[in-house]
């Protein structure tokens, strides 16, 4: 379970000013559920997930992963998380298996166990034929699968994914969706899954709980049905626009 409470972060701009990237973001992502952060580009999703993964220190607020404080015990928290971040660079001169096993070893696994896990993940993600090929020249879908296998190598109870479907074709997107859905089931380990996206379809088809993020803050949260009911819309895209851009619309109408 991942709990974020009152996360804020501001960055210094090149001109010496400040930009508030995230302001008082909080959420609870329980085990066995898929929680989605839905927002336009620049809404603060990546910064929020980077704070969850301990890559950026928040100015205020805290994150706990299975009750382990990320700021106080970053290594223990990271051992309980699989992170597929914004950057998912692979090592082109290593095979997919070597990429995965490397992360297994960094997670403290024995080599033999990491190899066995790489085989199991390859079956799950339908990438067994890729496993012993160097990742140089992999397609976007193949790269994503390898990066996901790498993030899941230590079988973490919590999975954090930043825009995982970016650049994927329909088939790869479907495969990823199936994999995430399975990971949230008891057979898949009842994992707590948090992912960010700006694609409505994904949220509609996948998320048990949705956080609508706009201008660095959570402006609404609930299930897809609850958000539709709250806005009185039948179409989720319309509901999202209402929720995320309500302030701009009001300001636009007032002027």
């Amino acid at each position: 379970m991942i709990v974020a409470d009152g996360l804020s972060k501001r960055f210094r701009t090149a001109r010496g000013g400040f930009v508030q990237a995230v302001e008082r973001v909080g959420f609870v992502a329980p085990d066995g559920r898929i929680t989605g952060l839905l927002g336009a580009n620049g809404a603060g999703k990546t910064t929020t997930l980077r704070m969850v993964a301990g890559l950026i220190e928040p100015d205020t607020g805290r994150v706990t992963v299975d009750e382990v404080d990320v700021a106080a015990q970053p290594r223990a928290a990271l051992a309980r998380m699989g992170v597929l971040g914004d950057a998912r660079g692979l090592y082109p001169r290593l095979t997919a298996r070597e990429n995965v096993v490397y992360y297994g070893e960094l997670q403290g696994m024995a080599r033999g166990a990491a190899h066995a896990r790489a085989d199991a993940l390859a079956r799950m993600l339908d990438m067994a034929h890729l496993l012993d090929r160097r990742t140089e020249g992999f397609s976007q879908g193949e790269r994503m699968k390898t990066a996901l296998a790498r993030a899941l190598v230590h079988d973490p109870p919590n999975v954090v994914l930043d825009e995982p479907t970016n650049g994927l074709d329909v088939l790869a997107t479907r495969a990823l969706r199936d994999a995430l859905r399975w990971l949230a089931t008891p057979e898949g380990g009842s994992k707590c899954i948090v992912f960010s996206t700006h694609v409505m379809q994904e949220v509609e088809r996948l998320c048990d709980n949705v956080l609508v993020v706009a201008r660095g803050s959570v402006v609404a949260q609930g299930t897809v049905e609850e958000l539709l009911a709250r806005t009185g819309r039948g179409d989720f895209e319309e509901a999202f626009v209402d929720l995320a851009f309500a302030t701009e619309r009001r300001e636009g109408a007032a002027s």
Binding site: A87, G89, R93, E98, Y103, Q107, G108
Partner: protein, 393 residues
């Protein structure tokens, strides 16, 4: 460091080493340019030395207008030196380095002026840009002064004066340099090439593990593993330093077969490169490989791309490679502060080893200590900036 942290550092080390060794094209270029350049230079220098030696020993002199000086011809032939007639365009030939000997020009009327005691002028024509001809000037002048001395001696003897009056002082030269020190004029550049080999050996790997990883976008995911920044940095540095040490070892070893190819017998006798020299080179270079690897990583970690890092690393490479050259431009004497300068210190140690001179305790201890300190400082810097480099806002 805990057992878990050292296990993770070891995993990073193994991965980075495999990654670096699989970069075959870069490795081949580094091997060709760094490892073979020194020996090639040595062999080329020995070729030059052999021809200079040959020139110094040659019993030939090129003369224009020898028909105007029968006495000079007589003298030269009595010395067992063969006179070669100069071509009419000898000046042109000298300028274009087609003629490898200075030319003695005898003016018409030389014999008559000599008999009258009018001190005729014998010109020794050379071109100082023509290295071989220039090297022969001293030999030709010695021959001509010999002739002048003999003429003066004869003139004085006719007047009943002792020839020794002409030489009230005798000048004798005593060269303190041992045979191997003399050879340093030719082999002095070798340490410089070995240091270059270390630099280029470390360069690609150091940049790839820092700026390269950042550019590929693999540094951010790497930091989502529960490994401490220092464990990651130690693993990476270990791999870079191993590659640099391997290249420097190969580069040092390459002089062993190179000395068998030396063309000049004298240089072969003077340049001795055996186990003792190899050990000295190794002991000098290993700490340097460690420090240079850490320094290049420290420079590259702040750069967003490999291209940017190459520009910054060029400064390090330039400083380390120019400093030994600058010291050679000076008096050439080893100053105490040289030992505190990485690059310069190693240059000095290797030069002394080549000269066959022993090294003091200070020379053994100070340079590795400086390298160790530099390594620690640079690695701490890289570890501190790793997270900041990984996360692109």
């Amino acid at each position: 460091m805990t057992r878990a942290a050292s296990g993770r550092a070891w995993a990073v080390y193994r991965k980075e080493l495999i990654d670096a060794l699989r970069d075959r094209r870069t490795l081949a270029t580094v091997l060709l340019s760094s490892v073979f350049l020194g020996p090639l230079l040595l062999v080329a220098l020995s070729g030059l030395y052999a021809t200079l030696e040959e020139g110094a020993e040659r019993r030939e002199v090129v003369v224009s207008g020898i028909e105007h000086a029968p006495a000079l011809r007589n003298y030269i032939e009595r010395q067992g030196v063969v006179i070669l007639a100069a071509a009419p365009d000898h000046e042109q030939q000298l300028r274009e380095s087609r003629l490898r000997d200075a030319v003695v020009v005898v003016p018409p009327g030389f014999e008559r002026e000599l008999a009258l005691g009018e001190a005729p002028v014998l010109e020794v024509v050379t071109d100082s840009a023509n290295r071989h001809a220039d090297a022969s000037v001293a030999r030709v002048q010695r021959l001509l002064y010999g002739f002048a001395r003999e003429r003066a001696g004869l003139a004085l003897a006719l007047r009943g004066v002792a020839g020794a009056l002409l030489e009230p002082v005798q000048v004798a030269e005593r060269d303190l340099a041992g045979a191997r020190s003399r050879a340093m004029r030719f082999t002095g550049m070798l340490p410089f090439f070995v240091i270059l080999a270390v630099l280029y050996g470390a360069l690609t790997a150091a940049l790839d593990t820092t700026a390269g990883e950042r550019e590929r976008g693999s540094l951010e995911p790497l930091l989502t593993n529960p490994a401490t920044p220092m464990a990651i940095v130690l693993g990476k540095w270990g791999a870079v330093a191993t590659v640099a040490a391997l290249i420097s070892l190969l580069s040092s070893l390459s002089f062993v077969p190179a000395q068998w190819l030396l063309r000049s017998d004298a240089l072969q006798a003077m340049f001795q490169y055996g186990t003792r020299e190899l050990v000295a080179f190794g002991l000098a270079l290993l700490p340097l490989a460690a420090a240079v690897s850490a320094a290049l990583m420290a420079v590259a970690i702040r750069c967003r791309s490999v291209k940017e890092a190459q520009a910054s690393a060029a400064v390090v490479v330039l400083v380390l490679s120019l400093v030994p050259l600058l010291s050679q431009l000076g008096s050439g004497a080893a100053e105490p502060w040289h030992l505190w300068m990485p690059g310069l210190a190693q240059n000095q140690i290797m030069a002394r080893a080549l000269q066959g001179e022993p090294l003091s305790v200070r020379q053994w201890l100070v340079p590795p200590a400086v390298c160790a300190l530099l390594t620690v400082l640079c690695l701490r810097f890289v570890a501190r900036h790793l997270r900041e480099a990984a996360v692109r806002p």
